[in-house]
């Protein structure tokens, strides 16, 4: 059996086509899939990482951005330890939808969930959202912020590793989610989200 001590659920949300699936595949498989089709429903991937000699299992839920899958994807917010909200820096509408996504997170996710705002596709030269605008939005809504490129593998590893480290820090403080094979759901509500170190 796996010998990890911590299990965290990370859920990616955001408009269709912003690159959620590409981010996940870059992180879990180290590749940028050509012609990535839209996600249907919700996809599930696992990657075990090491944080300070401890094995941490990340359960990554890659949700579909298309509206018609909303009733599926929403049901995964509640048990998430971390939520990654992604927009496309070269596509203003994906940024404009962020408040809607936040409303949804507010309604369905635990109030203690770790929230990260990610501006993806920084390799593109038709940027529409300046870094600072994203940064300010994140700050205003008490989120971490990071800009990435799934294509060029910029900041992708960092994004997930920072989340793992942060969740681990929280877990250590409350020492709740020790892995128990009979009960491996970690209650996100029992977690402290006190630490506020920024991701960059």
């Amino acid at each position: 059996m796996d010998d990890y001590k911590f299990l965290f659920k990370v859920v990616l949300v955001g408009n269709a086509g912003v690159g959620k699936t590409c981010l996940v595949r870059r992180f879990t498989q180290g590749l940028f899939p050509p012609g990535q089709g839209a996600t249907i429903g919700v996809d599930f991937m696992i990657k075990t990482v090491e944080v300070g000699n401890e094995k941490v299992k990340l359960q990554i839920w890659d949700t579909a951005g298309q509206e018609r899958f909303r009733s599926i994807t929403q049901s995964y917010y509640r048990s998430a330890h971390a939520l990654i909200l992604v927009y496309d820096i070269s596509c203003q509408p994906t940024f404009d939808c962020l408040p809607d996504w936040l409303r949804e997170i507010e309604e369905y996710a635990s109030s203690k969930v770790l929230r990260v705002l990610v501006g993806n596709k920084i390799d593109r030269d038709d940027r529409e959202i300046p870094t600072q605008v994203g940064e300010e939005f994140a700050e205003r809504h008490n989120m971490y912020f990071l800009e990435t490129s799934a294509k060029e593998s910029d900041n992708v590893e960092r994004l997930f590793m920072q989340i793992a480290e942060d969740l681990m820090k929280q877990a250590r403080m409350t020492n709740v989610p020790r892995y128990d094979p009979n009960n491996y759901n970690v209650d996100p509500a029992s977690q402290d989200s006190g630490c506020c170190s920024r991701l960059n």
Binding site: K9, G37, I40, G41, V42, F44, M45, I46, Q59, R68, F69, R70, S71, I72, S75, Y76, R78, S79, E107, N182, N183, Y184, N185, D187
Partner: protein
């Protein structure tokens, strides 16, 4: 000296004997040599003979050598000529190749001639099969070879003419067949439709043939679908299939399509070859998409789906913003039937998609050999399904299903809680049974949709409803507290006063509140068992419904199922909370005064006082009697788990308080004896009423009593450290000394002196 002389004389004799022996040996050698010489002399003539014979052989050998040389040169000659032969054979081979090619060309030429003559006659005779067969023969010729032949021939005009004739005939036939096919379609002449369908591939019109034929099949499907939809729309409310009439319509559509595919696949395979089913399926899919969309639209209109979904989301918005306004709200019971219909519709879509996937893939497997091409086609199939209206409709249905199912589950559980009733003689109330019935029903229904995503989401939703809505209700009821009726007057007054001020309690409903509390606690306990049973049964059902889950799907499902154990954890928390409530209102306020009466009894007794004490109502008898009254009031109303839990908490309270009062009392030897007896009978009483032993909980108290029951201080040494009777002490050395100090007859200097 004499010794040396003796030695000398011996040595002479020795030497003489040795010389004799040497001589004898030489003689024997001489004899042998003589004999050898004689033998040699005897052989001489023989050897001379041999030499003579050999010298006669020499000329013969010379002849042989000459002959051998001749042989070698002959062999060389043969090898050279065989080289020559094999190169000739090679030449012959290639010549034969040419001959074969020539034969083909000649055959082609002959056939070309025959075909070009035959095809026109066939067209004139309206024998399109024959004409097409000629064209087919023509098309099967290597066109580049034909060109080459034409260049090689002197008299090429004839041949070119034939080619042209055939090309023209082919074009003509193609036009005719296409036209005739359309005519047949228009006149609904099924025989002719099939006839010309078989001609297309002969003319190299595979794709056109499939397209035309499937387009024809589409019209048939459309016709039936139209009729079915009309009859669905006009189904009367009283019809017993009214509630699922659209699911039935979809079923008819899919079954019809499946039948079309099944019956025409052999035809296609025979005349067009395997590996072409995907083309057929793609065309039929267009009709499928069109019809599915119509059915779903009609269904959506008739069942007022948009309105219902909107009501639901408004309802959830309003309840989440906690405004009290009453909204027109769908009765979950009415939705129940609709949800059943959607899940059935979804399942039908799922089944049909699986069907065409299976069919097309199997056909590719047989018909296409190159892996690359196969890969490409299976991607085409994947995209065909992914982008089909059928898939979109399926996703839409699932989305509706999940919204309605979630609402249904939430509302029904809320209703179960609202109409919660306790039946006499039941430890739990109706909400437990009802809630788990609903949750189970919803999850089972999600399994019947055939969608793993649907199952996972419904499990997620069930976890949320149970962990939040349901457990919150139980906890809220426990929060009301358990009003105790046995308080002394001032305590009772204070408790009641507080409760009334906080609006928690009406002065007359103590009994009701108590029952409500106990039932809530029991509900939480029995819910834990319901959960275990629920997980067991749904896992089995899911395995049955989705037998071929891959590891990723399994991981997804397991992760969602693990959410259920969070519900169990939350229930355990609720139970613990309730028991703590009971402890503070039902246990502590009663136990404490009972235990405190211990202080009213002197434990410094004379022999006479001891007999009098034992004859009368002793402390422990009264205590046990009181405890029995208390416990018996809970024994039958609590579930056995809760009752056990209750006794554990009670025992802890009793022993701790007992310890406290003992620490406030002075003992003499007889007083210690009495205490020891009292502790034993109390421990005995409590253990008798439980499944577990209370001995451990009594350990400290028992040890205190043992100490107080010593004859002499030094007895402690029998039990301490490495002594034979040493025990595992629950008391620290300081505590032991404090206890010893309770004995008025032990001197504190002696106690101080003890080394522990």
């Amino acid at each position: 000296m004499s010794e040396a002389a003796l030695a000398d004389s011996t040595s002479y004799a020795d030497i003489e004997r040795q010389c004799q022996e040497e001589l004898k040996k030489l003689k024997v050698d001489e004899d042998t040599l003589l004999a050898d010489l004689n033998a040699m002399l005897n052989q001489r003539t023989y050897i001379e003979d041999k030499i003579k014979g050999l010298s006669r052989l020499i000329p013969t050998l010379k002849v042989m050598k000459h002959e051998a040389e001749e042989l070698v040169s002959t062999i060389n000659g043969i090898s050279e000529s065989s080289e020559k032969i094999s190169s000739k054979i090679r030449q012959l081979d290639s010549a034969r190749g040419h001959v074969d090619e020539c034969l083909v060309r000649v055959n082609d030429l002959i056939d070309l001639e025959i075909c070009s003559q035959g095809v026109q006659q066939a067209i004139l005779d309206l024998d399109y099969e024959k004409g097409a067969a000629h064209v087919h023969r023509f098309l099967s010729m290597d066109q580049s070879l034909l060109k080459k032949t034409a260049n090689d021939m002197n008299n090429m005009s004839n041949m070119l003419k034939s080619v042209r004739t055939l090309q023209e005939a082919a074009a003509q036939l193609r036009a005719i067949v296409a036209h005739k096919f359309n005519e047949a379609v228009e006149s609904e002449d099924l025989g002719s439709v099939e006839r010309f369908f078989k001609v297309f591939p002969l003319l190299g019109m595979h794709e056109e043939g499939i397209k035309n034929f499937c387009t024809f099949l589409r019209t048939k499907v459309a016709l039936t679908a139209d009729k079915n939809l009309k009859s669905a729309i006009s189904t009367s409310l009283t019809d017993k299939r009214y509630a699922i009439v659209y699911a039935d319509t979809l079923t008819l559509l899919f079954e019809g399509l499946a039948r079309v595919i099944d019956t025409h696949q052999p035809l296609l395979e025979t005349y067009y070859g395997p590996g072409r089913l995907l083309s057929a399926v793609s065309i039929l899919q267009q009709e499928c998409d069109k019809q599915v969309k119509r059915v779903v639209q009609e269904w959506s209109k008739t069942r007022q789906i948009q309105k219902k979904i909107q009501q639901i989301s408004e309802h959830s918005r309003i309840t989440s913003s906690a405004s009290g306004s009453k909204l027109e709200k769908s009765d979950p019971k009415d939705l129940d039937i609709l949800i059943g219909e959607i899940s059935l519709m979804h399942f039908r879509c799922e089944l049909y998609i699986k069907f065409i996937e299976r069919k097309a893939l199997a056909d590719m497997e047989i018909g296409i050999s190159e892996a690359e091409q196969k890969n490409k086609l299976s991607k085409v199939l994947e995209q065909l399904i992914l982008n089909s209206e059928l898939s979109q409709s399926k996703h839409e249905l699932l989305s509706h299903y999940l919204r309605l199912e979630q609402y249904f589950m939430e509302e029904s559980v809320a209703k179960a809680v609202n109409i919660d009733t306790v039946e006499l003689s039941f430890q739990t109330s109706s909400m437990v049974d009802d809630t788990f019935f609903i949750v189970r029903k919803c999850i089972r229904r999600s399994i019947s949709t055939g969608s793993l995503d649907g199952i996972c989401v419904t499990i997620n939703n069930a976890c949320r409803v149970l962990e939040n809505d349901y457990c919150d209700v139980l906890k809220a009821r426990l929060k009301q507290g358990y009003p105790s009726g046995y308080l002394d007057l001032t305590q009772a007054y204070n408790v009641l006063q507080n409760s009334i001020q906080q609006g928690r309690l009406q002065p007359g409903d103590t009994e009701q509140s108590r029952t409500a509390f106990i039932v809530a606690l029991n509900n939480a306990d029995s819910s834990t068992e319901y959960i275990t049973a629920l997980v067991d049964s749904i896992i089995k059902e899911i395995e049955g419904a989705c037998p071929n889950m891959n590891s990723k799907e399994r991981g997804k499902l397991e992760s969602c199922l693990s959410g259920i154990s969070a519900v169990s954890a939350r229930l355990a928390e609720v139970i613990e909370y309730g028991i703590q409530q009971l402890k503070s209102t039902a246990i502590k306020p009663r136990i404490n005064p009972w235990m405190d009466t211990f202080l009213n009894f002197s434990h410094q007794l004379t022999e006479d006082e001891l007999s009098a004490y034992e004859a009368g109502e002793s402390f422990v008898q009264t205590l046990i009697m009181n405890l029995e009254t208390l416990l018996s009031s809970f024994r039958d109303i609590l579930t056995s788990n809760n009752y056990d839990h209750f006794i554990k908490v009670l025992t802890l309270e009793v022993t701790q308080r007992f310890e406290k009062v003992v620490m406030k009392t002075q003992f003499n030897r007889l007083g210690g004896l009495v205490l020891d007896k009292e502790v034993r009978s109390l421990a005995g009483y409590i253990t008798s009423g439980t499944y577990w032993s209370a001995r451990d909980q009594f350990a400290r108290l028992t040890q205190i009593a043992t100490i107080l029951n010593f004859d002499q201080i030094e007895e402690i040494n029998d039990y301490w450290g490495n002594a034979d009777d040493a025990i595992t002490w629950r008391l620290t050395p300081t505590e032991v000394k404090t206890v010893l100090n309770l004995r008025s007859d032990f001197r504190s200097e002696d106690i101080k002196r003890l080394r522990l």
